[in-house]
Chain length 428, copies 2
């Protein structure tokens, strides 16, 4: 099929949401002409590959629990069937001060009600973690930084990490096996908004004309489709603002710092008692949203921070050494003193597409020929299988999507007018 012809579906964005949606669309109807288009050179090369790629089902919103549970189940099945995703079920560990535990209590009760598998650990049990400072927080520095002793830990079991590039590749391969088409290195500049019947009056579509999305404009020309699906993450705003539709997300820079050093080795491969992998769980320390993720394959630890107030909403993607050194490291070395002798090896920055409203995805159809898949809020990878199925069900006009392996989910819950989700309270 040449590009001058009309596709059944164009999907803008070859990240996890776009590729998962592409695959499930083709799976439901192999005859559908589906093309995924992306400005990068390959699938998952935008913000997907800049993710810390943690996977967890520890959410307080029942919707987020279903989306992650079913997606993680599918990931495990994919790997079991031979496609390597580098899944490491190392657990997620939240270190808690008394104060933090109290503030999280409602969210923790909600998780219990949602059937999430976790346990609460006493400080004594956390002493198994090499070097972890449990109760030595009386220094002036610690006081100044508001650090206090670790009283407990919350360990999520069905949690760990995945290779974000591998999961995108899985969907891309399956999509292509079914005849799906990808087009890379092609930036979508705008959506083609037209009246159903063109009259060649300036300013069309005029308010009395029926508007439609006819496809997309790229630097290399227009591409037409019966349905356009926007799965462009933070870039959705650039496509939707000009036509007056809201993707319900805000872009926020997130950085990952790769840290290496022999002092970190025990955390990476000699941290018994939390998982079969003998490694530190994905650990969120008790202050400021700082987290550490051990990566045995690369013999390193990735450090990130979910900062909130003060971190602008914008498209800035420059990693900042100062941020690591002044904001993260002073706290980190108090909690894990072994970072004092480790070195910052590399750093990377990407953008979260935050849904600041309720922190559940938005999947909706504001026009007959336009589907928007949005609002990953930094947890898109761990929800992508469910999101792809829900977007597909919405495309077909189904009331329910069937999530893996056989879990019905009401599509309209993630819509705008029909939205029916719970505000997510358990965020990093």
């Amino acid at each position: 099929m040449s590009d001058n012809m009309k596709y059944d579906v164009i999907i803008v964005g070859a990240g996890v949401f776009g590729m998962a949606t592409a695959f499930y669309l083709k799976q439901t109807d192999r005859a559908l002409n589906v093309m995924v288009i992306d400005r990068e050179g390959g699938a998952g090369e935008g913000n997907t590959c800049k993710s810390a790629a943690g996977i967890r089902n520890t959410f307080s919103s029942p919707e987020n629990v279903i989306l992650t549970n079913t997606s993680i189940n599918k990931f495990e099945d994919i790997e079991k069937k031979g496609f390597g995703l580098n899944i490491k079920m190392c657990g997620y560990l939240w270190l808690m001060t008394d104060d933090k535990f109290k503030k999280s209590q409602d969210a923790i009760y909600a998780m219990k009600e949602n059937g999430v598998d976790f346990s609460v650990l006493f400080a004594e049990e956390l002493r198994a973690i090499p070097g972890l400072n449990i109760d030595n927080y009386s220094s002036d520095e610690c006081q100044m930084m508001g650090l206090s002793r670790i009283k407990s830990g919350l360990l999520g079991k069905k949690c760990g990490s995945i290779d974000p590039g591998a999961i995108v590749s899985y969907y891309e391969n399956e999509f292509k096996k079914l005849g799906g088409i990808t087009k890379f290195n092609t930036k979508v500049e705008s959506l083609i908004l037209e009246p159903e019947e063109k009259l060649d009056i300036p300013g069309e579509p005029l308010v009395w004309q029926e508007p439609k999305i006819a496809g997309v404009r790229t630097a290399n020309g227009e591409i037409y489709a019966k349905t356009t699906i926007i799965a462009a993450g933070v870039w959705a705003k650039e496509l939707l603002d000009p036509i007056g539709l809201d993707a319900h997300i805000k872009p926020k820079k997130r950085q990952l710092f790769q840290v290496k050093g022999s002092s970190l080795e025990p955390l990476i491969k000699n941290c018994p008692g939390f998982n079969d992998l003998n490694m530190l769980p994905f650990t969120i320390i008790q202050k400021a949203g700082i987290y550490v993720k051990a990566e045995p394959r690369e013999e390193c630890i990735y450090v990130g921070c979910a900062d909130n107030i003060g971190r602008a909403f914008n498209f800035d993607c420059e990693p900042e050494r100062d941020y690591y050194e002044n904001s993260i490291l002073p706290v980190l070395v108090e909690v894990f003193p072994q970072f004092k002798n480790a070195r910052l090896e590399s750093m990377i920055a990407g953008s979260y597409a935050y849904n600041t409203i309720d922190k559940n995805p938005y999947i909706f159809k504001p026009m007959r020929d336009l589907v928007i898949v949005s609002g990953d809020s930094g947890s898109g990878i761990m929800k992508c299988d469910a999101v792809g199925r829900i977007a597909t069900a919405l495309y077909w006009g189904e009331e329910y999507a069937i999530l893996y392996p056989n879990v019905p989910f009401k599509v309209s819950k993630l819509g705008v007018e029909t939205r029916d989700v719970t505000f997510e309270r358990f965020v990093i």
Copy 2:
């Protein structure tokens, strides 16, 4: 008090939301040092004065009904006590095709349940409106524009219009009587985000420091306050994006076209049967969100259009003659042929601050010293009294605001995490 001192409260924005909040704050505690700051030369000179300033309680969201009902009651009381607001309770009339009525049915039932006073009129009753074309829509032009015969009308009773400048002046006067301070011609350029305890490290507040809003930066220097309230309409985004907080609004251009001509006179002053004023109700025609508002004082009709898809989210405020001539007028002359001989006298454009999420206001406190009053969605004037009271209650940490004359409203309903409102389905 000099500007080098610290105010108890700075309110950014002297529109209806800002001035109503300012007044109710001072009313609850006259000792509070409150300053309202605005870049315009006076109160209500931003988007407030560019409003069509319709007032109605015909909403499907019970929250919107309470906010408007109580505000309209207060407006009537203000006028009864001698402060002229140019209130005209002329009613709101939606002209309906069969199709439009069917699509609105759920919203209409919701209004009934909410106790909204309206009646459904048969087409025959609408013949009292001078010149209105009820059933002559068989021409090619009408077919092309998707116009069809009017089958019914929905007339909201507790509806009409108000002088937006007058209601702002009322709050400003009362605020000043209590010793409130205004500062005009002063643009707030940014919020002062600082750590609770400054250490003079670059990049403060660092993630481990407690952040606070210390006040605002203007071209003429910094102004400090214990609490900052953002009531800046569409401009809230400019202040909040840099610190990573979401005002939950999108800016959308809205235009008003002032039309004059002797052919319009019967609509303005000889349209019996709908109200005591002998004038056309604020009328929404059956297509494309076009509305007309008679203004006897100026002997004119204002025409507007709540266009949706295709109208960009941006700060453009240039009125467009072409839009009136190509988009609005072709439809308008089919419904009200007398517009054929009327002339476009002037035009104006402003920005709605759309809450695209659920179309109820957002009033929340994301930090201990920051209150955000937002999301008017083009119905801010008709809700301003309630909004000012709710923002005041939030400032004081009250669970309930008492709306006029004595209606409790749970403050947390309009918050973010605790949000509990119904999606508004009855929009123009």
